[in-house]
Amino acid sequence: FTLTFIVRTLLGESKEGSCRQKENCRPDGRELGEFRATTVNIGSITTADGSALVKLGNTTVICGVKAELAAPAVDSANKGYIVPNVELPSLCSTRFRSGPPGEEAQAASQFIADVIENSQIIAKEDLCIADGKLAWVLYCDIICLDYDGNILDASTFALLAALKNVQLPSVTINEETGLSEVNLKQKNPLAIRKHPVATSFAIFDDTLLIVDPTAEEEDLATGTVTVVTDEDDRLCSVHKPGGSPLTGAKLQDCISRAITRHKEVKKLIDKVIKSIKPK
């Protein structure tokens, strides 16, 4: 019942007239388990140390990583910092106003921070240059340029691609003077330990699950769930902020779909990284 209701509601202006006859079809013609076309562009922002632009259908997200130096925190003297920041400016959609980050942006930033922490995408110990004295801080700024649903997937993907693109200058501490010397000519890439990929689903009426929801589908959904997996087919995190309940079996389906999606995304990222000529 629910799916045909949604299809009738949204199909008013849709050109996919043939969709009315087909069962289990979404307004843009996709299957229930089908993702939108994904494109990645790496290294376009030269002022940032690493950058990536990801398009998931219409949803466009850009991530820029800037690396700075700071003293490590007192309680973790051998760790650097990774600070994510998701921004949903008024540019991307009429539902956001200009000003300080709203609820959704804060929730997205926290989600990205959790993914970084849980999946150990970068070991913070790798960012430390001298224990207790100097460490790298990676400021990852993720800005949404066009909001058409599924912002979490696109942001995680953009973050991963940007981190793979980061080149850090080599820093040495001069033994006699104790000052640090930065060599901007010699750059090293980051050591990416794991590759987490997020897959989001929208839940309708406790039973129906669709993958990669657009903004309209998200608004009509009764709940959402995001599953993050890494390349060893291990689960990094499951994010289900309230919404209608989900049976264990359905959740298992989500996890398997996420594992399949991970392989597709990994292949895409590897292809893009290989295509960039080393500077």
Binding site: K66, A70, L91, P100, L145, Y147
Partner: protein, 278 residues
């Protein structure tokens, strides 16, 4: 500094690695290097501009402008919609502008998003943008309505405000807002006086790059309505010298805008064709 509860925090203070970069030459040799770099640049040369309209799905009108050398501006426009205050003065509509800089747009230190200095600079730029666009839009056709323009600077390679003005007028035109003309922006800067001749500053350069802008003694941004040949906004300051120099700079800026105009018109035509064809 008061703690910003809405954003995640890193360390309280961090510095960009460039501060400690080993300098390849010392101060004496450095100036010679800069002068020989500045000489070959033709002051009237315009940087190649790439413009494309109609690329965001959620905005009624959008435009992306890129200047070679790295300035990238994305702009979205909506309008008209109901004015926020119900008891507003009866009369022409309002144009609301917003200008944001991405935290990774500048070379060097990353400014803290939400900091007071950032917000002040953004507000100034938004006011300048509004000043440049208002004469171009037929606000009398949208009484009691508001038109919203939102610009985002992705990478700053010099002449950012000028590129934003051009992008914003393209976005408004793409949204179908009635306009008298497109507002085209052009920036100029004047390098500081050289070592040998302390009195005369260098010539005015059109569309400076980022390094030129940073080391300049005076800057100027001109916004022009080319078909009507009217200047809609002038924003500038610095130690430029005598008034004739500024007048010459304004003429140079106006000429630069006239030369950029065909590129922007062509971009709009292509967007309209694409929209009709789809």
């Amino acid at each position: 500094m008061p703690l910003d509860h809405r954003r995640l925090h890193g360390p309280e203070d961090s510095q960009p690695p460039e501060l400690w970069a080993a300098r390849p030459r010392d101060a004496g040799g450095g100036e010679e290097g800069e002068e020989s770099g500045a000489a070959p640049r033709d002051p009237c040369a315009l940087r190649p501009l790439f413009a494309r309209a109609g690329l965001l799905s959620q905005a009624e009108g959008s435009a992306y402008v890129e200047l070679s050398g790295g300035t990238k501006v994305l702009c979205a426009a909506w309008g008209p919609r109901e004015a926020a205050e119900p008891g507003g003065a009866v009369g022409a509509g309002r144009l609301l502008c917003d200008f944001r800089r991405a935290p990774f747009c500048a070379r060097g230190a990353r400014p803290r998003p939400g900091g007071a200095a950032e917000r002040e600079a953004e507000r100034e730029a938004a006011a300048a943008l509004r000043e440049a666009l208002e004469p171009a839009v037929r606000l009398s056709r949208y009484p009691r309505a508001r038109l919203v323009v939102s610009a985002l600077l992705l990478q700053d390679g010099g002449s950012a405000l000028a590129a934003a003005v051009s992008a914003a007028s393209l976005a408004l035109a793409d949204a179908g807002v009635e306009m008298y003309d497109l507002a085209v922006g052009c920036a100029l800067c004047r390098p500081p006086p050289g070592d040998r001749d302390a009195s005369a500053a260098g010539p005015w350069l059109l569309q400076p790059g980022e390094a030129e802008e940073r080391g300049s003694a005076a800057r100027l941004t001109v916004a022009l309505l080319p078909a009507l040949n009217q200047v809609s906004a002038v924003l500038g300051g610095g130690r430029g010298g005598e008034p004739e120099g500024w007048a010459a700079a304004l003429r140079l800026g106006v000429e630069g805008c006239q030369r950029l105009y065909p590129v922007l018109r062509h971009c709009l035509l292509r967007a309209a064709r694409r929209r009709d064809g789809a």
